[in-house]
Symmetry: C2
Subunit: 160 residues, 2 copies
């Protein structure tokens, strides 16, 4: 039996574990510097920066979704951005990923967000096929850029 419930502060350690499992699956564990304390502060403090749902299969934590609000100037409204969606390997094939996405879609509908966006790694064909089957549109003309660390500091110093 599947149940999906909002994550609470008591789930910070579980979320940390699941996020690391996702990063390992995405071959990006080296880039994870997050701590449980970060998640506690940013998800469940005075100014929550994300919301998350935990999926449980027969009482066992099986996966999670984590999302926040973003904005589109061309559309003139806010949408939801799905930062993470993950189902543990031993719980796959039970429709849990789809149930987590459906839950998010219902939140979008109920709270008036006309779209949900996310990103997928280009080699993750099972996920790409799954999103395509749901009617997801791939925005492949866009390239993501990131500025951090020394490049960001150097630019900041040039501000008049």
């Amino acid at each position: 039996m599947l149940s999906i419930r909002p994550a609470t502060e008591q789930d910070a350690a579980l979320l940390e574990t699941l996020i690391r499992e996702l990063a390992e699956y995405e071959r990006l564990l080296d880039s994870v510097v997050m701590t449980e304390a970060d998640l506690r502060r940013d998800g469940f403090g005075t100014r929550p920066r994300f919301r998350a749902f935990i999926a449980e299969w027969e009482g066992q934590p099986a996966g999670y979704s984590l999302f926040f609000e973003v904005y589109s100037t061309f559309e003139g409204n806010a949408g939801l951005f799905l930062e993470d969606l993950f189902v543990r390997p031993q719980f796959r094939g039970k429709g849990i990923g789809k149930a987590l996405l459906a839950h998010l879609a219902r939140i979008a509908r109920d709270e008036g967000y006309p779209r949900v966006n996310w990103e997928v790694l280009d080699w993750n064909q099972p996920a790409i096929d799954f999103y395509t089957a749901l009617g997801g549109k791939f925005l492949d003309q866009w390239r993501s850029v990131r500025l951090t660390d020394e490049a960001l500091r150097r630019l900041a110093e040039q501000a008049k």
Copy 2:
């Protein structure tokens, strides 16, 4: 002379104009459904969903930047997402785009955001070269997905 100032509610009509000019440059004007009222509500109401800066060259509106906060679970902190950056054609070549970005980098530094992300169209080589020169990193292994309209509604109805 260049000046950069925060946009206020009085700039909603100007922002609408500039956003449409950006969309035209990006060949995406057909996808713009935003109105001035949307920008007024979402940028300058009780719950601001974005912040924006207006660049003026000798008192004339020359460009803008518009951004909001996003979150990274792998990094365990928030960053800034630059939704729009635009300089009107007649004001290009004066360093206004770089000044707007530097201004944003300074805000990131001063407010404790360790990164700025944005997206660029894959055919916009002048912008790609500019971002590369600033030290921006392109995250080309990620594909953006969007779910809207009927596909989103259909999925929402499947939520248990």
